[in-house]
Amino acid sequence: MTIFLQSLISGILVGGVYALIGIGLTLIFGVMRIINFAHGDIMMIGMYLTYMLFSMAGIDPFVSVLISFPLMYLLGVFLQKVLINRVLDALPQNQILLTIGMGLIMSNTMMLAFTSDYKILSTTYSSSSISIGGISISQPLTISFLITAVITAGLYWFLVKTNTGQAVRATAQDREAAQLMGINVKRMSGIAFGLGAGLAGTAGALISPTYYIFPQVGSVFTLKAFVITVLGGMGSVVGAAIGGVIVGVSESMGAVYISSGWKDVVVYVIFLLVLLFKPSGLLGKSRM
């Protein structure tokens, strides 16, 4: 029972960070219908930003979210205005090539700047945990889960309650109709990509104290984000949050009850089953 609870809890905590990556990707897809294959690499840049802030200025990784989120937001807006905006009406394969290319440029630039060495960020609390009834809960992961929860709630509030948020959602629902209603859809696209990049960067910052950083780390998370987004229903923020937790929990359960080497198989089997029985994802609406 302890083992079950332990793997459930660590799965949920890791899933929180996955959710953050997935939400960013789904937001971008929802508004622009573009699959951002550079998403993991944007997260990687967030990780390096956190690492630099920590090693040079001594800023705690969790506090540095306050700095890295706005910076990553600006990077996202910049990328959207300069690159993504030009291919919004292009063929899907061209969009995919563009985002993959962006990702390659990012990871190779970081490799030139930082070499491909693994960087490990050791905080005083990197390996501390709280023990409750025989179950140990990682302190840094708990903090990052709480921050994730606050950010997700804040994002939800922004999308549902504010005018800009509603405009973003309107753009996601129907770009042309939104434009006809006087919504500046180009600005909404910029906001969506900025938020997506900001969330990915934040996820990078949150995972830094417990993980390691290297230029190719992005590909691992791009794939995860993609699975999470499709699992939850493309374009659905709540779906991505649920998808993230599902992936986290099934990884950790798979490692315990089957084998560590097979945990990814568990994730993909669940993924395939969802696609078989609900092709539009858990919370997605069918778009056929």
Binding site: T2, I3, Q6, S7, S10, G11, V14, V17, T115, S116, D117, Y118, I120, S122, S126, S127, S128, S129, S131, S136, S138, I207, T210, Y211, Y212, F214, V220, G248, E251, S252, M253, A255, V256, S259, S260, G261, K263, D264
Partner: protein, 384 residues
């Protein structure tokens, strides 16, 4: 007068080309970038010292360095380049077992003497290859020294094995399993993980549930740190954490004192060995690089010394170098080195191992008692 000057010039030219042609070309394949870079650096430092010492002996070597980033396919193309384009007399390297294994067959194909300094997957020298020589001990030795020590120090009854699913990891896990079975240790868990995962907690929790007396781990640096961090988090509390060299023997791991203290690591060399030149090597290493010397550096140093000397003696002729390595015997900082055929191995050096324990971020040799009087801390103290 004029004629004699010209003659002098010609003689001078002849001499200088003679000196120049004496430089033997030796290829070096190492992982200086990528995941294995921290260890690649220590190996490279060993090579730097070896080149200096060869020069002192009047042997001029021209090193041609190739970086394989820890990937077998890149290692293989590096080997092809060294063998065909650079025409090196011999090759020292590569670092990882996966790379060394891939490159070994190419050495045979191009008939280039290859000396493997630290890769320890046992199969590498069990392929019946003639051009491949290995100075490094094998994973069998890694597992045997650690488990033997634990059996002498305490009364462990069970062991859990965690390894990354790479050539080195799988090979070391297999060795540990074979040794454990032979010596009546119960294997309660065998977990091969895919490296690069952010979360090993569930695996470790499962192992904790089995309550093993020993935890045997095979990882490189980054995962080693992550595994120990999370072992502490979940409160895994065996009698001993046994790290099979590699990441656990690296200063970057030792530096993380919160989680590295009292972890054992098998090693092929420490400063405390009684082999000739070992203490001077350690001293020079510290002075030059301002870092602690590790076994990877010593292995690399000794390998390049052997390859350099043999290649110079053979005048750069590959066939003669192979014969020289096959029949030669050396005595240096790695003790007596001899490439022999035994137990199904070919050209394998029988190398005695040691065990280090990390105390306050520093490695301390604690085993075997023939080399050191230091007392190992056993069992592992309770996590704070």
């Amino acid at each position: 007068m004029k004629r004699s000057l010209i003659a002098l010039a010609i003689v001078g030219l002849g001499l200088s080309t003679a000196a120049w042609s004496q430089a033997v070309k030796i290829g070096v394949i190492n992982s200086t970038s990528g995941a294995e870079a921290p260890i690649g650096e220590t190996i490279n430092n060993g090579y730097i010292l070896a080149v200096e010492d060869l020069k002192k002996k009047g042997i001029n070597v021209e090193l041609i360095r190739e970086d394989d980033t820890g990937k077998p396919q890149i290692s293989m193309s590096a080997m092809e380049k060294l063998a065909t384009r650079d025409n090196v007399a011999g090759v020292v390297g590569p670092y990882t077992s996966a790379c060394a294994n891939a490159v070994s067959k190419l050495a045979e194909k191009y008939r280039v003497p290859l000396l493997v300094p630290v890769a320890s997957k046992e199969d590498i020298t069990r392929q019946g290859l003639k051009w491949l020589f290995r100075l490094s001990a094998t994973t069998d030795d890694y597992a045997a020294i650690l488990l033997n020590m634990a059996l002498k120090l305490g009364k462990p009854k069970s062991v859990a094995i965690i390894n990354e699913n790479t050539d080195f990891g799988t090979s070391a896990a297999k060795s540990a399993k074979a040794f454990a079975e032979k010596n009546g240790l119960k294997i309660v868990a065998e977990e091969a993980y895919a490296k690069g995962s952010p979360d090993y907690r569930s695996t470790l929790t499962k192992i904790k549930g089995q309550n093993p007396d020993l935890v045997f781990m095979v990882s490189y640096v980054a995962d080693g740190i992550l595994l120990m961090r999370q072992a502490r988090e979940v409160g895994l509390q065996p009698q001993a954490f046994l790290g099979a060299g590699a990441g656990f023997g690296n200063p970057a791991f030792a530096k993380e004192t919160d989680i590295s203290n009292n972890v054992f690591s098998s090693t092929q060399w420490t400063e405390e060995v009684t082999w000739p030149g070992a203490k001077e090597f350690a001293k020079r290493y510290r002075e030059k690089f301002n870092k602690e010397p590790v076994y990877h550096s010593a292995n690399a140093y000794a390998s390049l010394m052997i390859m350099g000397e043999t290649a110079a003696k053979a005048g750069g002729d590959r066939e003669k170098i192979r014969a020289g390595l096959d029949s030669g015997k050396w005595n240096g900082i790695m003790g007596e080195v001899k490439f022999q055929d035994y137990d199904g191995y070919n050209n394998q050096n029988k190398h005695p191992m040691l065990v280090e324990q990390i105390k306050n971020g520093k490695f301390e040799t604690v085993w075997p008692t023939t080399f050191t009087k230091n007392k190992p801390i056993y069992p592992f103290p309770k996590w704070k």
